[in-house]
């Protein structure tokens, strides 16, 4: 009870819980799930953009894209390390991912179909991720919060690069402008889904907020993202594919329509357009690497005993 009240007090002061501190089992479990899901999202998220590295249309864009996908691997690495401070190994988490027992963000189950998607993912997907993640820099668990600070800094950079790619393409040919519009049409709704279901359908939010693992509700963050994105879309010269999108003077926010939550649920259940492909890719890479990891372990053992 002493431990528990110390924990509660730390949370109440908005101070950080550190790995050596006592924490409730539910807190630990929720954190592991959330950090792992976040780490998995970074790793799976390498695929949709990685799909275009070999086809990047200029060497400058190739370098930018390769570096970005590399950063995602880095984010995965920090986040798995944060999770490891809670007593689970990266290998365990990876196995949870490839067996489908842990999730990753459904956005990565959408295919990338043109080079403009690299830009849209930077602008909209990273943009939505930042809205979700900036509050997590103040999350109550120390290693997670510190990882998020690094991640957010790099994500903002990626978002600007994505937006800049789209801006450049909009200055190009008619086909390129059409490509950008088509890409934005495809990614707008999935980006809105990244904030999770409407608050009314999100039963875990309250507990997560109480624990300081989550700082805002899904709908609050979604609104923030829409408000941020509309002027950016205007500056870019693209139309967002939502007929209900309109400034509401009274609320001082944009009103907007609802994404197709049925499609969202299909993605969550594993039936999205690329779920099977993403997991199969990850599983193959992991299995192909097994003999390498085994060799590294065997070598380390030999070295240690030599």
């Amino acid at each position: 009870a002493d431990l528990e009240s110390h924990f509660e007090a730390t949370i109440a002061r908005n101070d950080r819980i550190e790995p050596r501190d006592w924490m409730p089992d539910g807190y630990r479990r929720t954190l592991v799930r959330q950090i792992a899901q976040h780490a998995h999202s970074e790793i799976i998220g390498m695929q949709p953009e990685g799909n275009w590295i070999s086809r990047a249309p200029s060497l400058r864009r190739k370098a930018i894209l390769l570096a970005k996908v590399q950063d995602e691997a880095g984010h995965g690495l920090y986040l798995y390390s944060a999770a490891e401070t809670l007593g689970v190994s990266r290998l365990e988490l990876t196995e949870m991912l490839i067996s489908g027992r842990q999730k990753y963000s459904s956005i990565f189950n959408y295919p990338t179909l043109s080079y403009a998607d690299v830009g849209s993912i930077g602008w909209l997907v990273d943009g939505a991720a930042i809205c979700n993640q900036v509050p997590l820099c103040r999350t109550s668990f120390g290693p997670y919060g510190r990882a998020m600070i690094r991640v957010c800094k790099e994500e903002s950079f990626h978002q600007r690069q994505g937006y800049e790619l789209l801006t450049t393409m909009m200055r190009g040919t008619d086909e390129q402008r059409a490509m950008v519009q088509e890409s934005v049409d495809r990614f707008w709704w999935p980006a809105l889904m990244m904030f999770g279901p409407p608050d009314a359908d999100s039963p875990n939010t309250a507990q997560s907020m109480a624990w300081g693992i989550k700082r805002n509700t899904n709908d609050e963050l979604r609104q923030k993202f829409v408000d941020m994105s509309v002027p950016q879309a205007e500056a870019l010269g693209v139309t967002l594919p939502d007929p209900d999108l309109a400034w509401n003077d009274e609320r001082a926010h944009y009103d907007f329509g609802q994404p197709d939550w049925d499609e969202f649920m299909q993605g969550v259940k594993g039936n999205g357009p690329c779920n099977a492909q993403r997991l199969a890719h990850r599983r193959r890479a992991h299995e192909d690497g097994a003999w390498v990891r085994a060799a590294a372990t065997a070598f380390a053992t030999k070295e240690a005993t030599a």
Binding site: I43, M46, Q47, G50, W52, I53, S54, R55, A56, P57, S58, L59, R60, R61, K62, A63, L66, A67, V69, Q70, A73, G74, G76, L77, Y80, R90, Y115, L165, T168, M169, R171, G172, T173, E175, Q176, H281, A285, D288, G289, A290, W291, V292, R293, A294, A295, A296, T297, A298, F299, K302
Partner: protein, 263 residues
């Protein structure tokens, strides 16, 4: 200047093609650390190739292919995306289709040992751009070599499977190793004029470094003959294997579908 351009193109194409192959490892490596390391190597090589292709174009713009009308592609992109396979001057070693992680290890090791031996001398190039590229490149390549050498020893001494895969990869790439030290007339001319290095002159040094790694790993030098070219011509002459045109089909697809595009 034609010699300088042709020479810079050779080095730039090596880096470009090798970078493309290594980048194919992204999201496919055995562990996150290796994914990051391989992306890093690919990025370094890509950076080298951009400077070298730009240098080639500046030294002699006749090496830059004619672009489709209205194309705003800068010279580095014209060279990367609008040449056909036979116009590339990379060594065949760089273009080989990827294999397993042992193959990646051997590939990076042999390439960077060779390249380091050449670029250590290239730092003294009378061309300031090449010399600057080499100064930076030597640091990068040293990291690449050390990364690959560490894995080379680990795989050689790890498990039976890892050792046999490593030996197989070495046998597979070895036939293209001697070609790295062939002297092309352009290289001879570049060396004579002080802008470049004749690779034949660094063979001994490179072999000595490689032997150190082989010894540390307890791996014998392979006994596989060199791969012949076609009518005596190889990569430096624009004579490649079947892999390169397939690689370019993919690499150039977006740029060529939108020749007037802004990127």
């Amino acid at each position: 200047a034609p010699t300088l351009a042709a020479y810079a193109l050779m080095l730039g194409d090596d880096s470009l093609v090798m970078s493309h192959r290594i980048a194919e490892w992204t999201s496919n490596a055995p562990d996150l650390e290796d994914d990051i390391a391989l992306s890093n190597i690919a990025l370094d090589l890509l950076g080298q190739s951009r400077l070298l292709l730009a240098r080639a174009a500046k030294a002699d713009d006749s090496v830059v292919p004619a672009l489709p009308e209205g194309s705003p592609a800068p010279p580095e992109d014209a060279l990367a995306f609008f040449r056909e396979a036979h116009e590339f001057r990379n060594v065949r070693f760089a273009e080989v289709v990827n294999g397993d992680f042992a193959e990646a290890t051997v590939r990076v090791l042999l390439f960077s040992v060779w390249r380091l031996a050449v670029w250590e001398r290239l730092r003294a190039s009378t061309d300031h751009v090449l010399s600057a590229v080499a100064v930076k490149g030597v640091k990068e390549l040293t990291y690449h070599r050390d990364y690959a050498a560490r894995w080379f020893v680990t795989l050689a001494q790890g498990t039976e499977e890892s050792r046999s895969r490593l030996l197989a990869a070495l046998d597979e790439l070895w036939p293209l190793w001697p070609e790295l030290f062939d002297t092309h007339p352009v290289e001879a001319a570049a060396a004579a004029s002080g802008v470049g290095v004749d690779p034949a002159t660094v063979r001994e040094a490179a072999e000595a470094v490689l032997d150190q790694v082989l010894t540390a790993a307890d791996v014998p030098r392979p006994e596989v003959a060199r791969r012949s070219g076609v009518l005596g011509r190889t990569g430096r002459d624009g004579m490649h294997g079947e892999a390169l045109s397939r690689m370019l089909a993919e690499m150039q697809s977006v740029a060529r579908a939108h020749p007037r595009g802004q990127w």
